[in-house]
């Protein structure tokens, strides 16, 4: 990294430049480029750029593939900014082809970094190259398939029907054949189901005869007895033996099937920052017969932790192209700003490094509550008189805000100290959530076929209006520093919806709903109006309301899924409205109307 990278280019900050697209690129590569363009690191000015990305599709270097781009070398030579690859990231999924599957690319990458799938420990230049996950064409650009455990039942205790599963081809000869050819030895037809088939290519029967492989018939019969998907979702552990390339890993991760790696010398995806020992079990191809006893030796809490970690990693770094690309950029960014780089504890604990900014990486996992706030008296009051250009400025990360909790209030919100104290007490138990008073809900509008917004009273809610809410100041930083202009534009143009965006952001990070606390009902109508805004004239405006509905639908598109989550719970003081003397109650003002 130090010898082949020009750090001077990054003095202006971590910015990424993409060459203008001049030729056809594969659909996957164009998704990758679009993701970078939408990120906050993108710049269209090569002078500003720290890192360069080619607009020539280098993903697939399998000469037999239809996405194989020809004459890359001569194209590279024509690029005036190429500079022998310095500060360039070359992305590659497939290299080589049948029969050797060589790892090298068929052009000279010079001093460029390679982000490449299926790298071997030996080829990998640690701290410079990036081991990239292999992904399918179908991987969505944003959002992504949820980790299986989120939607399935009975995940804990973590045992599934089978202990260990695998279903795949065996190649009889060549790379990866040795391990796969011996899997049948530990297949026991009961809890260890390891299935291989010789059916590969057109002439497999002929080849099997030539090699005198007598197991093919038996193996094929066993193989046909089980369904791949069923096995994947019904096994506690999934064997990931070396193949020609390394793919089944990804599916196991999504399925919450703990990978048992039998791929000696394979550099695991994003190994620079991801601690795979928390989500996978290492076997050694040389010691295949130990695998059953290794997996049997793990305790229930260990298995439970491994399984949850697979799900966390999948959803945080792998489930969409956006996440994969952002992870690559963040890894390189941490290398450039060495002294700001986040510890492995941040990368490997929920919610992960993509939502934790460098400035906030000091606390090991969750933001910790601090008791300093609020002092009812003697609190310094700072008045910010600035050019308020945007409604988003309410979430500006003011350096003056030094407490962990931020109370966001509109100028005309009428709230008693009891209400504030109580909400703050609740927030201290849930410092990662927005805690507030008036709430709103999202719903799917089947008539318009889109997500929509409602303020009608109901038994559930999924958003808290930030006109009166407490949350961690860290979300102000996230709002200001992690959302690209694509998001904030919507807010700026409508001068509205900043609170909806904040709720999206927080739920996106925490995967939890906000928390509503009780408040005096008298203010319900007058103070917060039908759409919840304090500016009454404003809020009655039908246009304003439909704007919010449109915002919500738009945000869903940008996030790629609906991050909001509903809650049926309101938090009340322990003795709220109980038939005891008010004098015994701590938060008695809340009950006085």
């Amino acid at each position: 990294m130090e010898t082949c990278f020009d750090f001077n280019k990054c003095k202006l900050g971590f910015k990424v430049f993409i060459y203008p697209i001049q030729e056809r690129v594969s659909e996957t590569y164009s998704k990758i480029l679009r993701t970078i363009q939408n990120s906050i690191y993108y710049t269209s000015d090569p002078e500003q750029a720290c890192v360069f990305i080619l607009s020539i599709d280098t993903l697939d270097r399998d000469t037999l593939s239809k996405d194989y781009a020809k004459d890359i070398q001569s194209k590279l030579d024509q690029l005036s900014l190429w500079n022998n690859g310095k500060n360039h990231i070359v992305l590659n999924l497939y290299s080589g082809t049948w029969p050797n599957y060589i790892e090298s690319l068929d052009f000279d990458i010079g001093e460029a970094m390679i982000a490449k799938a299926s790298l071997s420990v030996f080829k990998f230049r640690p701290g410079f190259d990036i081991s990239f996950p292999l992904f399918a064409k179908e991987l969505p650009e944003i959002g992504g398939e949820r980790a299986y455990v989120y939607n399935s039942i009975n995940n804990i205790p973590p045992f599934r029907e089978y202990l260990l599963g695998f279903k795949g081809k065996r190649y009889l000869t060549g790379i990866g054949s040795e391990t796969r050819n011996s899997l049948y030895h530990i297949h026991n037809k009961e809890d260890i189901i390891l299935l291989t088939t010789c059916r590969h290519g057109k002439n497999w029967q002929k080849k099997a005869r030539e090699l005198n492989d007598t197991r093919c018939k038996v193996d094929n019969e066993e193989y046909d007895k089980y369904d791949y998907k069923k096995l994947l979702y019904n096994a506690t552990f999934c064997l990931v033996p070396r193949g020609r390339r390394l793919g089944s890993f990804r599916e196991a991760l999504q399925a919450g099937c703990i990978p048992v790696l039998l791929s000696n010398g394979w550099e695991l995806p994003f190994s620079e920052v991801i601690d795979w020992s928390k989500a996978a079990v290492w076997g050694d191809e040389r010691l295949l017969f130990q695998v059953p006893s290794i997996v049997r030796s793990l305790s229930v809490p260990e298995i439970l932790a491994l399984k949850q970690q697979t799900q966390f990693l999948w959803e945080t770094y792998f489930s969409s192209i956006e996440k994969i690309v952002n992870t690559v950029l963040q890894i390189v960014k941490d290398r450039v700003n060495k002294h700001l780089a986040r510890s492995l504890a941040v990368w490997n604990n929920f919610p992960g490094a993509l939502s934790v900014l460098q400035e906030y990486s000091t606390s090991k996992s969750h933001p910790t509550p601090c008791t300093k706030w609020p002092g009812n008296l003697g609190v310094p009051v700072l008045v910010k008189t600035r050019n308020i250009k945007s409604i988003s400025d309410r979430f500006q990360a003011f350096p003056d805000v030094q407490t962990d909790a931020v109370f966001s209030l509109d100028e005309d919100a009428l709230i008693t100290t009891d209400e504030i104290d109580f909400a703050f007490g609740v927030w201290r138990e849930f410092p990662d959530r927005i805690v507030g008073y008036p709430a709103r809900e999202h719903f799917y509008d089947t008539t318009k076929n889109r997500w929509s917004y409602t303020s009608t009273y109901s038994n559930e809610y999924s958003m808290i209006l930030t006109g009166a809410a407490v949350y961690h100041r860290y979300y102000n930083y996230l709002y200001t520093n992690s959302l690209s202009t694509v998001y904030t534009q919507i807010v700026d143009q409508s001068q509205n919806c900043e609170d909806i965006l904040m709720n999206f952001l927080v739920s996106h990070v925490t995967k939890q709903p906000p928390i509503k606390v009780t408040h005096r009902k008298i203010y319900k109508e007058s103070m917060l109006g039908s759409s919840g805004r304090t500016r009454t004239s404003f809020s009655l405006d039908q246009q304003h309301f439909s704007q919010r509905q449109a915002c919500l639908a738009h945000f869903v598109q940008l996030f790629g899924y609906m991050p909001l989550i509903r809650s049926k719970v309101r938090m009340d003081p322990v003795l709220f409205k109980d038939p005891v003397s008010n004098l015994r109650k701590k938060f008695r003002q809340i009950e006085v109307i």
């Binding site: 010898t3 039942i153 205790p157 060495k338 559930e460 719970v569 322990v574």
Partner: protein, 672 residues
Amino acid sequence: MFSQTNCEDISDPKHLFLRSENSKTLELTTSSPGASPRDTRCTYHTCFDVYHCGYNDKTRISVYIYPVNQYVDQAGNAVTLPVSKEFYEMLEAIADSPYYTNDPDMACLLVPSVDLLNQNSIRLREVGQILASLPWWNNGNNHLLFNMLPGGSPDYSTVLEVDTGKAVIAGGGFSTWSYRRTFDVSIPIFNPLIQPDKMPQKSYLEKRTYLLISSQTSLHKEYRDVLHEIEKQEPRFLFIQKCPTDERTWNFSRRCKENVAYDYPQILQDSTFCLVVRGARIGQPALFDVMSAGCIPVIVADGYILPFSEVLDWKRIAVTVLEEELENLIQILESYSQEKIYELRQQVTFIWQKYFSSPKAIALTTLRIINDRVFPYAGKSYEEWNDMPNTKTIKNPLFLPLRPPSAQGFTAVILTYDRLESLFKVIHSVAKVPSLAKVVVVWNNQKKSPPPMTSWPDIGKPLKFVKTRKNKMSNRFFPYDEIQTECILALDDDIVMLTADELEFAYEVWREFPDRLVGFPSRVHLLDNTTNKWKYESEWTNDISMVLTGAAFYHKYFSYLYTHAMPVELKTWVDEHMNCEDIAMNFLMSNVTGKAAIKVTPRKKFKCPECVNTEMLSSDLGHMIERSDCINQFTRIYQSMPLKSIEFRADPVLYKDDFPDVLKKYKDIGML
């Protein structure tokens, strides 16, 4: 730099192989074969023979140490210097460790007793010959060599320049070019001149005079110039070097700025950050000095493989700055908050003491790293390597924010002895809850058999019962196979007051907080100022820290923990006293999750409406004393108070709102 020891100096060697009478004198001739050159392509999977390491239940490698021999050339002159004190300590540490075996044929790893710590004090060619002559050398396979100072003048290689074949090198100055990842181990350079007892430990909270000190004596001119520039502008930067009076004789314990002398390494304790810049060698002993003083190292050595970086997270120990960023040093250091500085400082001291502070620590850490490569599934985790053991960091076992799908429902586990009438009433009332999936009755009476299946109420949901072998309170928290949902409702056979709406709502609350205990009547623990003991409180308070498990929802996983992972002493206490199993569950859950229980709805009691809550009767003092006693006992067993008090409860969103009842989903919420 390492002190030489004659074998006679070592008083009473405990180990046979170290005794001088066992050492042989062997002669090398010029024609003795040398070892083959270091295999630069080695990785763990290609050069480390695992078949020798075998599988054992201890998941531990075994290490053999060759006897210490004398080697002489044809003229009879010694080829090697006597073993240094440091190397001797390393060998001794290995021999005293559980890794040690005296059978070379059983060994996974073999350590030659040739001291290679300092390349400057060995004869390269002859050492290669010695290695090749070792009886089990086999081209270095599974041999471990320790070296702290590699290379020599003028170009200072970053790796030991002895022919070592396929041997693993634990080296103190690897760069990205020489380090064979997954194979070699990068170790710290031990400095015997540091005497920790002469340097009293300062508290990490203490304020330091300087922001930054540079104290290395042989800095490259280029870096010296940059530092002089910084010195001019930054008064908090102390730039000290070799004293002018010490030009000829090397004096470790003194450093000077012009003519002002400072005690070294004590002066390092006066600075927040201490600079460690690469010199002729990329690995610098200064790193060891600086860390021993509890000063945060600022490492400026591009491509240096930091000691034990395979397992240690250096981002939490040191500041790494690129060589070309040296001029911006102050700006970078100023971006560190006081909090971050405290964290780093504590980490520096912890890491130094645990892994660096003695040759023994260095040798054993190296073995542990290799051990974990061989048995990765039993290896130490990131936290075990990097977290200070005394700071109690809670890792919630259910750390994913999962919300179990509502379709799954819950299993009501009812503990009963023989109150059939009341039990049937409870079964009938819980059957009305829509999300009930199954009822499991735990029959805790060994003298009486449960009535025949035909006489049980027909509730339209599966009903199973399990007979226990002993009447124990803990039986209620056993993870029975019959429980097939994640959510359990623990229910007593006399809880007749709860409405279906209340239970259904509580189940929904549990789904939002599946790692917490969700119940109805609550209790709180208070510290009695006069006795300094914990007290159990059942009055109507503004706080809660426990909920009763007479009717409470919780995750099945905690049944597993209660049965298999709770301190034995605690479990025995509960079973002997036939009481406090609910307090034990509250303790267990708060202890592993760090979270408080959640009280749902205003319910203060849930048994028969006409009876008075016994816990509220002052006449039942004995009961209250016993409950308080439980809290104090459990706190002692856990060595801390895991319970947390909160000031809120969970109600339905529209509870008590002035709003038509028809629109409320949970209207039947009882009062008391």
